[in-house]
């Protein structure tokens, strides 16, 4: 099938061409009136126009027609094969006066075929471009989905993606999170009556998803909250909107229901449109689930932080409250054991000492609890200064030598002379070393040695059991390393790391016998972390332990450096 217009003012030619083309599969028109030509072109949109060279102002006419037609092929009937150069650029083929009817017919047929092939190619190209654009939209929408953990944003990305790929006139998105809400994204303004109808339609759509089952949320059209976004508020939709083509899909949140979406468009949706719509509506499901999980994690974190704070406050308050009655008990025991109320016999004195010892122990536990709660709340005060580790070792040795002696142990300090200074809080280091040495005293049987050693070492030379490797890897540069070695009960390799956990006193009848809060080592670990140092141990069951701690040489801890600069 092809529509052919022949423009000529020669009757014999018109007659000849009519005879050639006035048969199937052609529809043939002729014209010799310039004004009528444009009318025919406009109404019939011919596939081919054949121009006779004899027509007046033919060049002007060709130019004019070229500007009003898009896909029409132009064929020029020449006189003796003469062609003017500037005509060739508008013309697809040529005929001559001498050509036989068959040749004219076949030339036109070939041109018609070429034209149809080009049209098909152009259609295919257009479809390809559309598909490519849609793929791009799907890709960018997926990227947006992957980059967000905010449900509101995810729904907006979904609607944006649908707009870009389907150019809808209106979407009605029902979201059931917290309070159900209907999101209307519309090209034009929506009247109150139309809005009521849309709400009702959405609720019916929603209920239809669950057939006979009870829907997960009670949603009523009258009370449904609406958030409306209108692109061109100057125009209004009417009820003819319901005659538009539409598509509807549920939106799930992982395996659960989240909402549903209905989309309206004046022109009909294609099957590709339907696929694209389903894809985008399904794609949002997983990100929505991730966003929900993220939200839950954030909420849980907040709760945990609050609990942690409450716990610290609780420990702090309880510790303070425990000190008052403890003071009264201690004072009474001190008065009695000091003989201020008269003589006490030997067994009475023994039980008084027992009570005093346990008061001391209880006071130690309370102090440990308070220290830990202060460290965890970031309220521990440090007084950093240049100092030498010898002073710490000397202090601890002299204060604990009596305790060691009472237990029949030798407390020995083997120090390397002239160790460089460190920038540290001497009181806190005394606390750490006191803890390590008193632990060694507690766990070492009579007649054995406890040795405190100190030396300098490069971080790369530090050798620790595997479980402490992570802590040691953070160290860089030179360190003072202090080691407390005992010949006590030791710790099994699997329990080494646990020794530094809060309240994780290693399960052992001896450890229960010697008591303690089990907080000494966790506190020591935190105190050393505040010094940019580390603590670790090597041990073997029944062969003793070596506890080490390392403090950086000449390194001002970051927090203190800031204060120093300010000062």
């Amino acid at each position: 099938m092809g529509k052919i217009l022949f423009i000529s003012n020669r009757l014999e030619k018109i007659q000849q061409y009519s005879e050639i083309f006035n048969k199937k599969p052609y529809e043939f028109f002729t014209s010799s009136d310039e004004n009528a030509i444009f009318e025919i072109v406009e109404i019939n949109n011919p596939d081919i126009i054949i121009f006779d060279h004899s027509f007046d102002n033919i060049k002007q006419l060709i130019k004019k027609l070229k500007s009003v037609t898009t896909s029409t092929s132009f064929i020029f009937l020449t006189q003796n094969g003469n062609i003017e150069n500037d005509i060739t650029k508008y013309i697809n083929a040529f005929l001559t006066e001498e050509m036989s009817d068959e040749l004219v017919l076949s030339t036109v047929a070939v041109n018609l075929k070429t034209k149809h092939s080009l049209e098909q190619l152009s259609d295919t190209n257009k479809n390809l471009a559309d598909s490519l654009y849609r793929l791009n939209v799907l890709y960018s929408t997926s990227s947006q989905f992957a980059g967000s953990l905010d449900k509101e944003k995810l729904i907006n990305y979904m609607i944006e993606g649908l707009d870009k790929s389907l150019s809808f006139d209106l979407t009605c998105t029902l979201c059931t999170e917290d309070e159900p809400v209907l999101l209307l994204n519309s090209l034009y303004e929506i009247s109150d009556e139309l809005l009521s109808a849309l709400k009702l339609r959405t609720v019916l759509n929603y209920k239809s998803l669950f057939e006979d089952k009870k829907p997960p949320f009670e949603i009523e059209a009258d009370t449904l909250k609406v958030v409306k976004t209108v692109k061109y508020p100057a125009n209004r939709f009417t009820f003819t909107l319901f005659q538009y083509d539409n598509m509807f899909a549920p939106i799930s949140l992982g395996d659960n229901f989240f909402g549903c979406i209905e989309i309206f468009k004046e022109t009909p949706f294609t099957s590709d449109d339907a696929t694209c719509f389903q894809t985008i509506a399904q794609q949002v499901s997983l990100p929505l689930k991730s966003a929900t999980l993220y939200q839950e994690i954030m909420e849980t974190n907040l709760k945990l932080e609050k609990l942690e704070r409450l716990k610290s406050e609780f420990i702090s308050i309880v510790s303070h409250e425990l000190r008052t009655p403890l003071t009264a008990i201690k004072n009474s025991l001190d008065i009695l054991s000091g003989g201020r109320c008269g003589d006490i016999n030997e067994s009475g004195q023994k039980f008084l000492s027992m009570a005093q010892r346990n008061v001391q122990r209880l006071a130690g536990i309370i102090n440990d609890l308070l220290d830990l709660s202060k460290i965890e709340a970031g309220k521990m005060d440090y007084h950093f200064a240049n100092m030498n580790i010898h002073s710490v070792i000397d202090y601890v040795k002299s204060s604990l030598s009596v305790m060691a002696k009472e237990k029949g142990l030798n407390l020995i300090a083997e120090e390397t002379p002239d160790l460089p200074d460190i920038y540290a809080d001497s009181q806190r280091l005394e606390q750490v070393l006191t803890n390590l040495v008193s632990n060694a005293i507690k766990f070492t049987p009579e007649g054995k040695n406890i040795i405190i050693r100190s030396h300098t070492a490069d971080a790369s030379q530090l050798n620790t059991p595997d479980c402490f490797k992570e802590d040691i890897q953070k160290l860089q540069g030179k360190y003072i390393v202090v080691c407390v070695e005992d010949q006590g009960i030791g710790i099994a390799e699997k329990d080494l790391l646990r020794a530094f956990d809060k309240f994780a006193q290693i399960e052992n009848s001896l450890s229960r016998k010697v008591g303690g809060s089990g907080l000494g080592l966790p506190i020591a670990k935190q105190l050393l972390q505040a010094h940019n140092g580390a603590i670790w141990c090597e041990s073997e069951l029944n062969k003793g332990s070596r506890f080490y701690f390392a403090i950086p040489i000449n390194i001002v801890p970051a927090k203190m450096e800031k204060n120093l600069i300010l000062n």
């Binding site: 303070h320 409250e321 000190r323 008052t324 009655p325 403890l326 003071t327 009264a328 201690k330 004072n331 009474s332 001190d334 008065i335 201020r340 008061v359 006071a363 308070l370 202060k374 309220k379 005060d381």
Partner: protein, 121 residues
């Protein structure tokens, strides 16, 4: 004999302090809340005050401040005793003019030593 005022709402602690300080030849006056403590301080003009911080009606910080800002009483040494031991509390104690600061549980002998140092016994 020198006079000591002990102000603490914990009667047991007051009792034990009174016991050792009387044994060390001091006269002890006791008050069990801040209001009574302040009144008694002005009444008897003690040579030293042992003051608890957390008390009903008027707390130890306030009593210390009121006395230390009054020319008539500012020279009376104040030994502040508290169950709180955080550094910031210590700073508040110093700002309010306490001369000494010890934390519960304390050693009774330490209290006697501090009192002796201030009262020259």
């Amino acid at each position: 004999m020198k006079k000591i005022l002990i102000v603490d709402d914990e009667q047991d602690i007051v009792e034990s302090l009174k016991f050792v300080l009387e044994a060390a030849d001091y006269i002890c006056y006791c008050a069990y809340n801040g209001e009574d403590g302040l009144k008694l301080a002005k009444e008897i003009m003690p040579d030293i005050i042992i003051l608890d911080v957390m008390m009903p009606k008027i707390n130890g910080y306030k009593i210390s401040r009121l006395l230390k800002y009054d020319n008539k009483y500012k020279n009376i040494p104040i030994l502040m005793i508290t169950a709180r031991s955080q550094e910031e509390d210590k700073l508040i104690g110093e700002e309010t003019g306490a001369d000494e600061y010890i934390t519960k549980p304390f050693d009774l002998d330490d209290v006697v030593k501090i009192v002796n140092r201030y009262l020259g016994q």
